[in-house]
Amino acid sequence: MAAGDDLKLLGAWPSPFVVRVKLALSFKGLSFENVEEDLGNKSELLVSSNPVHKKVPVLLHNGKPICESMVIVQYIDEAFTGTGPSLLSSDPHERAIARFWAAYVDDKLVTSWVQSFRGKTEEDKSEGTKQMFAALQTLEGALRECSKGEGYFGGESVGLVDVSLGGLLSWLNATEEMSGTKIFDPVKTPLLAAWAERFSELDGAKLALPDKDRMVEFIQKRQAQAAAAAAASQK
């Protein structure tokens, strides 16, 4: 890292989008100041750094803000090309494929999994779950294609898609524990199941991924709050 490179991350520890940025920083070996935001009482810095969305993560590099997790991850890769491994191949076709699947994780997996939690009706929720498993099946195929027999979407080492999906791991593992249903099923999606284990063991991942038990506690608290709010609004 060049002298005078100041990196500050405005985040919230449970957010999978924040975790993605921490993963990228971690894999690149970049040190940064972690600022934990209270999302119920957002800081002046957060609001002024991300006036459009007022969301985390926001990365401040020498005071200049970058927003949106995958934009930030690509920025980290491009601004620090000399530091640590590259998260994207130099080949334009491989880059396009990686960007496609990284975006797919947001468009299909995140969306459906959120619906499985927050769907307004039981029907909505189970539709979300169904679509989530369909997306995982598609990602199994993507992993087979992208890994080319190696361990990661990025091939021999982690890349953009590993970071995009990796950010969700703690949430997905917590969901698995709470529902009793395997999400990375070794029978249905063997490559993904192996990938999840392998990824979690990486030093860089251990630094960035929130603890599963802490995640479970957090989700349970959130669900209780949502149930209480729903009950209160029905009175």
């Binding site: 459009v52 927003c67 934009v71 930030i72 396009a96 496609f100």
Partner: protein, 236 residues
């Protein structure tokens, strides 16, 4: 042109996503075979080359498909860097991040809002979507001020990534004006965008690629009719 290989583009002439890819190809002076698709009644080719989303545009380069317009434009920029003197994405990582941020905003917020005007089932719903679209346009006026820094385009002296991403929606703003009488970019409310829109329309790439708004009007009527008759998957 040297190194071109075999290039095909599956598209819909009036699709803003296809327009931006065609403009990028034009900027690079790259030739390709264009194949118009029926997006309401999708054909074999589209389903084969974009099984995940079944949408246009799809760029097929030497038999290998690439999907998602922003990804395709970046690919084009990387395969033919600086060709024809044009670079689509800025060189500086921070400028690239800024362009990508706003590009994501446009596709996430602007497109669904104005598409919602077409798909609205009631007057109230339509009015709501118009309001939403206007709010996004207002924010883009500020983005233009920030990004252009006094220069003629989002990217500076000539069009770049964000110009393509925003600009491809302009023909639809005109189509919606003809259909519903709503104006989204006007010199009174968004002076920077209004001036930029004229300049954008005047570029060689836009003049070559962007279809007349009445083609979009024609497609809109077809789309609205199909939405009335039967439930249909995303047609875009």
């Amino acid at each position: 042109m040297a190194g071109e290989g075999d290039l095909k583009l599956l598209g819909l002439l009036v699709s803003p996503f296809v327009v931006r890819v065609r403009m990028a190809l034009h900027m690079k002076g790259v030739s390709y075979e264009y194949i118009e698709q029926d997006v309401i009644d999708k054909g074999e080719l589209l389903l084969k080359y974009n099984p995940v989303y079944k949408k246009v545009p799809v760029l097929i380069h030497n038999g290998v498909p690439l999907c998602e317009s922003q990804i395709i434009v970046q690919y084009i920029d990387e395969v033919w860097p600086g060709t024809n003197g044009s670079s689509i994405l800025p060189a500086d990582p921070y400028d690239r991040a800024t362009a990508r941020f706003w590009a994501a905003y446009v596709d996430d917020k602007l497109f669904p809002a104005w598409l919602g005007i077409l798909k609205a089932k009631t007057q109230e719903e339509r009015a709501e979507k118009v309001k939403e679209t206007l709010a996004v346009v207002e924010l883009l006026e500020a983005a233009l001020a920030q990004c252009s820094n006094g220069k003629p385009f989002f990217a500076g002296d000539s069009i770049g990534f964000l110009d393509l991403v925003v600009g491809c929606n302009l023909l639809w703003f005109e189509a919606l004006r003809r259909l519903f009488g709503v104006t989204f970019v006007a010199a009174g409310k968004t002076p920077l965008l209004a001036a930029w829109a004229e300049r954008f329309g005047g570029t060689e790439a836009a003049r070559e690629v962007v279809p007349d708004a009445d083609k979009a009007v024609e497609f809109a009527k077809k789309l609205m009719a199909s939405l009335c008759s039967a439930p249909v998957a995303n047609a875009s």
